[in-house]
Assembly symmetry: C2
């Protein structure tokens, strides 16, 4: 007996469109027929088509350009190897500047990184608390927009105590070979332990604009913290990544990693 799940119409439409896309009916880069056309062709209202497209957007399968149309994305998921990406050998390979560069180049894509903010500021409360700073102590904020072959893929905001950043020469746009961690290591403040807290959440307005997301899509929020041998936190960084274009990879030995003295 055919116990077909009685799905709603917009879901059936979404299933149909998804199949058409993955079966090559609408190849990557092509534009779907307009919502009005689809509504006519599939015998439903345009509102229903629109709702179905929302699902495909949330899946990262299409990108919608208002006034232009709905375009099929090429979705090559990027793998972020959290452990490897902070090893010095990786960071400095092929003259790459920091972890992200090396990571993207290995995929055959062209990394680009725009620094959109680089200045001393009063840290947000959560950051000040984590860094053990008072309200009036300043931090270097370093906010970057990052692209892989012109596709926005990462939004990184790091906070480093101002005094330390100045001594390490991190107040310039170019942090030199090996990036931030190599400069910190030269001062004897190189991190020996990292922690990351991973969430997924609705994008902020900023993120929505930068990534071209809809509010039914989500982003990974990764709070990355770098600890020295004396358990001092030297970097607090927040990365935002659209969930549909990343896979986060972690690995660790069964018994070796001890919990640090800080939470």
């Amino acid at each position: 007996m055919t116990v077909e799940a009685p799905k709603s119409r917009y879901r059936q439409v979404a299933d149909q469109l998804r199949q058409d896309i993955t079966h090559g009916e609408y190849p990557p880069g092509s534009t779907l027929p307009s919502e009005a056309e689809l509504a006519d062709k599939m015998g439903v209202s345009r509102v229903t088509i629109n709702r179905a497209v929302q699902i495909l957007r949330a899946e990262g399968l299409v990108r919608v350009l208002r006034g232009r149309g709905t375009v099929v994305r090429s979705v090559p998921p990027i793998s972020r190897h959290s452990n490897q990406r902070y090893a010095r050998a990786i960071r400095e390979e092929r003259g790459a500047r920091g972890a992200f560069d090396a990571e993207i180049r290995r995929l055959g894509l062209e990394p680009r990184s725009d620094i959109v903010q680089l200045e001393p500021v009063n840290p947000p409360e959560a950051v000040a608390k984590a860094l053990g700073l008072g309200q009036r102590e300043r931090v270097l904020i370093r906010k970057r927009h990052m692209y892989a072959s012109d596709e926005p893929v990462l939004l990184a905001t790091s906070y480093i105590p101002w005094a330390l950043a100045e001594r390490a020469g991190l107040t310039k746009v170019d942090t030199g070979p090996g990036g931030t961690y190599s400069r910190l290591a030269e001062l004897g403040q190189g991190p020996v332990r990292f922690t990351e807290d991973v969430r997924a959440r609705i994008p902020t307005d900023d993120e929505e604009a930068f990534f071209g997301l809809a509010e039914n899509q989500q982003v990974f929020e990764i709070v990355h913290m770098s600890w020295t041998a004396t358990d001092r936190l030297v970097e607090y960084r927040v990365d935002a990544l659209p969930t549909f274009q990343w896979v986060l990879h972690f690995e660790w030995p069964a018994e070796a990693v001890e919990s640090g003295s800080r939470p």
Copy 2:
């Protein structure tokens, strides 16, 4: 009426409701006014209210029960410490049976785990490939529904080569103190290295039903793999977790973790 809407109506409504909830107007466990009432009160159509509620659902702020109403959730985010949770001391603490038990108990919540499937099956293609098995070799599938104080929080499906599972005594419902890994260790097949690949995606129909999700919410999909000292994969597991109620925590030393010989 003070128009100047930089945001769409449904977003303003969502913002308003969110504020009302976080400010205690609607405490956890309480039921919001019906959509019709809210529509009347806020001077918008019911469809607009409904759309606003979708946003709150995606954020995990409310749970919607058709026919009954919209209930405010108590949202205590659960922290999953991926590294610690596989250490033997943690798994066996307080007589807990495996990692999940210990994890939830530490939060003062009551863990419950229902085994909904436990039998030999032909593995899915991806699983067979990862485990290095042929098409006709069977695996033990072990599918569990897991709850924290009766709230569904985790859906775990593990695959273990059948011959190994039988020898290790893992074909029973109760795997004994320390759980699966302790049994494998007793055979000299204890894992010494773990890898996890983390994605976020739209829930399947199964997951939607189990967790009570809407399709605009997402789940973490964690593919967990356990490797022995001889780089043999002994367990392939897929965990599904609603993104809004979990934070994934990882930590590792700067230079110690080497990439395994397998991808």
